[in-house]
Amino acid sequence: MFIDPEKCTGCRICETACSLHHEKVCNPALARIHVAKWETAGLYIPVVCVQCESPICQTVCPVRAINRDEKTGAVQIDYNVCVGCRLCALYCPFAGAQIDAEKGRVLKCDLCGGEPVCAKFCDPKALQFVKATTANMRKQRAAAQRFSELMKKLLSTP
C-alpha cells in the first residue's frame, strides 16, 4: 500500500468503504483505516497498517496469532488463535491495529485478500495498491520533477 498524504482530500470514503466491506455497516470506528486530520491546517493523513517486513505486532504476540499471508503479503490476525490481549495494538508504532470497542477484538488491515477496497475507492489516489518497484519509480519521478523545477528556477535567476 502506497500512501501519499499530499493527495488525500479528507473525504473519508476509505473509512466507510472499509467498514462496509469488512463489517457490512458504515462505521468509521470499525474501519481498519483512519484519516487523521488537522482541520485548521488542512492536513489529512491516512493511517493504516503498513504491513512491516519485520512486524512488531507479530513479535509481541504471545500466542503467535499474527502471520503473513504469503500470497497477498498481508500481516494477518488468526482470530481462532488470538486471545485478545491487544499487545499488538499497544506496541504498533504506526497505529496499524485498532481495538473494536464493541467486541473487544483487534482490527487490522488484511489488504482485503489482495484487492484493498480503500485503494479502489480512492479517486485522488492518495491510497494506491501497487508493486514496490512501481511505487519507487513514482516517488523517484516526483523527486526528479521537484529537482527539475528547482533547476529551472536556478537557471532563470540572473
Partner: protein
C-alpha cells in the same frame, strides 16, 4: 439501519430532551433531510411566529442516504422560519456533521425554546446533554470548534457552530461546520443565536446498517465513477466552482457593480487558475470524490497568515465583481472574514454592493455611512463592512437586518437598486439573458435562490431531442429562449428537493451534466440502503410533495403570486455589454408571466400560485398538520 435512527426534541427553555423513533410513513412521504425538515416545520410552527422568538424551531436533519461512500452523502439540512424573509428558512450544508449525527444515533433534531445563558449541545452515542457555553460566547467559528474539541480531547468530533454574527442576530448569519462548510442562506445562524445556542457537537460510534450492504458498496463505486466521468466534475475537482467564472465573465452573465454591468473588465486576476498561487491542494466533504474546494494559505498582508478553504464562485462575485474588486487576494481575505464571523457570503456581498451603488447615486451619503466612503473597488471598505455587519457596529448595523429592513430605513427609491426577491439577495449571476434562471430565482421558496432549481445545464445548448428525453417535454436548446424553460425549472425543483432529502450533493446530480446520477440511480441507492422501493414517478411525486408543502408554508405566512417576482431592473435595463448572445438582453414581462403560468400549471397549482385542492389531496397533504413526529 436508517430505521433505528431517532428524532430528538430539545427544549432549551426547560432543558428537557425527548427522543422518539421516526415512523416509516414519514420516510416514505418525505425521505429525510430537507423533506422531513419541511414536514416538521409545517407541523411544529404556528403561523406568523416571530423567527427570532423562542417559539421558532431550529431543525437539523441528516439525509436518508447520509453516510454511504459516494456522491457527497454528508449533507445536512437546517431549517426554521427565516428571520431574513419570513418565508421558509432552509439551508443545506456539506462537511462531516450529518454522518456523525447518524453514527450517534440521530437523524433529526427539533430545537425549541431559548436557553437562559449561552449553551451548547453535546451529543454522544444516544445521549444528549445541554452544556454551558459562556466561555465560547464571542469566539469566532474556528476557535469555537477548536475549543470544543480540546475540551472533549477528541479531534474527530463534529460541530455546527455560530460566530459573532449569529450571536448578534444578524439576519443572514450562517451556521458553520469545519473550515469551509456553511449552512449559509436564510439566516439560520440568527435563529440559533436567538436560542442562546452556540454550538451542537456530536460524536458517534454506532454502526449504520443497510438493507443490501454488499451491493450497496459496489453501486457506490459505480456512482463515483459515473460522476467523475462528467467533464463538469473533473473541472470542479481541479478548480472548484470558480471554474464557472471563466465562462460567465467572458460571456457577460455576471453582475458587476451591483447590477450596472454584466462582466468585470480587467477581471483576469479572478480567473480560477490564479488560486494556484495560494492553494496547496483540494479537499472534499464526506463521501465526495469531486473535492471542489481549495485549501489555501495567504502569507502576506494585514490579515495574514490565513489558512482558508474555498473560495466558492459565490464569494468571487460577492467580494469581486459585485463590488468591483479585481484581486484574488481580496476574495481570499473576505472569504476568510465572513467564515470567521459566520456570515452568509452571498447576502453580505449583495448588501455591500447595493450600498455602494446607493452611495454612487447619492441616495446614501457619508453622514449615513458613519464616514465610510463606499467607493467601488475599495477592499478595505468591504473588509470593514463585513466586520461592522457581524458586530452590528456603525453603518453595518443597518445592513445587518437585511434588504427589506434597510430599504425601510433608507427609503428614497433605494428599493429599485436592491437585487433581492422575497427579501433575500440574489447571487451575482445576471439572469437577464437566461429566462430559465430568472424564473428559478423568482419562484424559489426561500427567496432569490439559485439552488432551488438552477438548470445550469441550460447553458450547454444541448440538442432538443436530448432535452426532451430528460425533461419529458419540449425544451428549447437556446438559453435565451423562453420556450420550455418553465418545465426545466419545475423538473429541477423536484430533483433538488429529492437530492436535499436523501442528503447527497447537488453537484453530483443533474446540475451541469445530464448523464450524472438522477431518478433511477437515486431509486436504486434508496433500495440498497434502506430496502424502500421508489419508482421514478414516486420519487418525482415526493419532490412535488416537498415543494408544494414549502409553498403551503409560505402561503400561510402571507406569500402569494406577487412575491414570485423579479426586481424591476430585470425588465427595464438591458444588459450593456458581453458577447452578442448576452448583450442587450432584458426579461420580457409578458413572456415572464407566461412562463410563470406554465410553471404553476406544471406544479398543478392555480394561476395565483396556490396548490389546487386535488393536488393537495393527491400529494397527501390535505390532512396536514398530521403530527406523525
Amino acid at each position: 439501519m436508517v430505521w433505528n435512527r431517532k428524532i430528538a426534541y430539545i427544549d432549551l427553555s426547560s432543558g428537557k430532551v425527548v427522543q422518539k423513533p421516526i415512523p416509516k410513513e414519514v420516510r416514505q412521504l418525505y425521505l429525510g433531510g430537507r423533506g422531513v425538515d419541511m414536514y416538521l416545520l409545517y407541523n411544529h410552527l404556528k403561523p406568523k411566529t416571530d423567527p427570532l422568538s423562542p417559539k421558532n424551531v431550529l431543525l437539523v436533519g441528516a439525509g436518508l442516504l447520509g453516510g454511504i461512500p459516494c456522491l457527497g452523502s454528508g449533507r445536512c439540512d437546517i431549517a426554521a422560519r427565516s428571520p431574513l424573509t419570513g418565508a421558509v428558512g432552509d439551508s443545506n450544508v456539506g462537511g462531516f456533521f450529518a454522518p456523525e449525527l447518524r453514527l450517534a444515533g440521530f437523524d433529526n433534531l427539533v430545537i425549541s425554546g431559548r436557553a437562559e445563558k449561552p449553551v451548547y449541545l453535546w451529543i454522544e452515542d444516544g445521549e444528549i446533554t445541554v452544556k454551558d457555553a459562556s466561555y465560547l460566547w464571542g469566539k469566532d467559528t474556528f476557535e469555537t470548534q477548536t475549543l470544543i474539541r480540546d475540551d472533549h480531547d477528541d479531534q474527530d468530533l463534529k460541530c455546527l457552530v455560530i460566530g459573532v454574527a449569529g450571536e448578534n442576530l444578524v439576519r443572514f448569519a450562517n451556521i458553520r461546520t469545519g473550515m469551509k462548510n456553511s449552512a449559509g442562506r436564510t439566516g439560520m445562524g440568527a435563529v440559533m443565536g436567538s436560542k442562546n445556542l452556540k454550538a451542537i457537537a456530536v460524536r458517534g460510534t454506532k454502526s449504520l446498517e443497510f438493507a443490501h450492504p454488499e451491493e450497496l458498496l459496489d453501486y457506490c463505486k459505480e456512482m463515483n465513477e459515473m460522476i467523475m466521468n462528467t467533464r463538469w466534475a473533473k473541472a470542479q475537482s481541479r478548480w472548484g466552482t470558480m471554474i464557472i467564472y471563466s465562462n460567465t465573465n467572458t460571456t457577460g452573465l455576471i453582475r458587476t457593480k451591483n447590477f450596472q454591468l454584466n462582466r468585470l473588465e480587467e477581471g483576469q486576476d479572478l480567473e480560477p487558475e490564479n488560486i494556484d498561487r495560494y492553494s496547496f491542494g483540494t479537499a472534499g466533504c464526506y463521501g465526495c470524490v469531486v473535492h471542489c474546494r481549495h485549501r489555501y494559505v495567504l502569507r502576506e498582508g494585514p490579515y495574514a497568515p490565513i489558512y482558508g478553504e474555498g473560495p466558492e464562485y459565490t464569494s468571487l462575485g460577492a467580494f469581486g465583481t459585485m463590488v468591483d474588486c479585481k484581486k484574488m487576494e481580496t476574495i481570499l481575505v473576505a472569504n476568510h472574514l465572513v467564515n470567521k464571523y459566520g456570515l452568509d457570503t452571498l447576502e453580505t456581498g449583495g448588501l455591500i454592493a447595493w450600498a455602494m451603488e446607493l452611495y454612487e447615486k447619492g441616495i446614501l451619503d457619508q453622514k449615513q455611512t458613519d464616514g465610510l466612503k463606499l467607493e467601488w473597488g475599495d477592499e478595505n471598505v468591504v473588509f470593514e463592512l463585513i466586520r461592522q455587519i457581524a458586530t452590528r457596529e456603525g453603518f453595518g448595523n443597518l445592513l445587518a437586518d437585511g434588504f427589506r429592513n434597510a430599504i425601510a430605513k433608507i427609503g428614497k427609491g433605494s428599493e429599485y437598486y436592491a437585487i433581492e426577491i422575497k427579501g433575500m439577495s440574489n447571487l451575482h449571476s445576471d439572469e437577464r439573458p437566461t429566462p430559465s434562471f430568472a424564473l428559478g430565482i423568482a419562484t424559489a421558496t426561500r427567496g432569490a435562490d439559485h439552488l432551488r432549481s438552477r438548470p445550469a445545464i441550460d447553458m450547454y445548448g444541448l440538442p432538443e431531442e436530448l432535452l426532451r428525453e430528460v425533461y419529458e417535454g419540449p425544451v428549447a436548446s437556446d438559453y435565451t429562449s423562453y420556450e420550455g424553460k418553465s418545465r426545466m425549472v419545475w423538473w429541477q425543483e423536484l430533483l433538488y428537493a429529492i437530492t436535499d432529502s436523501i442528503g447527497i450533493c447537488k453537484f453530483q446530480t443533474v446540475f451541469c451534466a445530464l448523464h450524472a446520477p438522477k431518478w433511477d440511480e437515486f431509486s436504486k441507492l434508496i433500495r440498497l440502503a434502506t430496502g424502500m422501493e421508489f419508482s421514478k414517478a414516486q420519487l418525482m411525486e415526493t419532490g412535488e410533495r416537498i415543494y408544494t408543502l414549502e409553498r403551503l408554508f409560505n402561503m400561510r405566512e402571507g406569500f402569494t403570486r406577487k412575491d414570485d417576482a423579479l426586481p424591476e431592473r430585470y425588465f427595464k435595463e438591458p444588459t450593456p455589454i458581453g458577447l452578442p448572445i448576452a448583450q442587450g438582453k432584458k426579461i420580457d414581462k409578458e413572456q415572464f408571466e407566461r412562463m410563470l403560468n406554465e410553471y404553476y400549471a406544471l406544479h398543478k397549482w392555480d394561476q395565483n400560485g396556490e396548490p389546487r385542492k386535488e393536488t393537495i389531496e393527491r400529494l397527501r397533504l390535505d390532512k396536514e398538520p398530521t403530527h406523525m413526529i
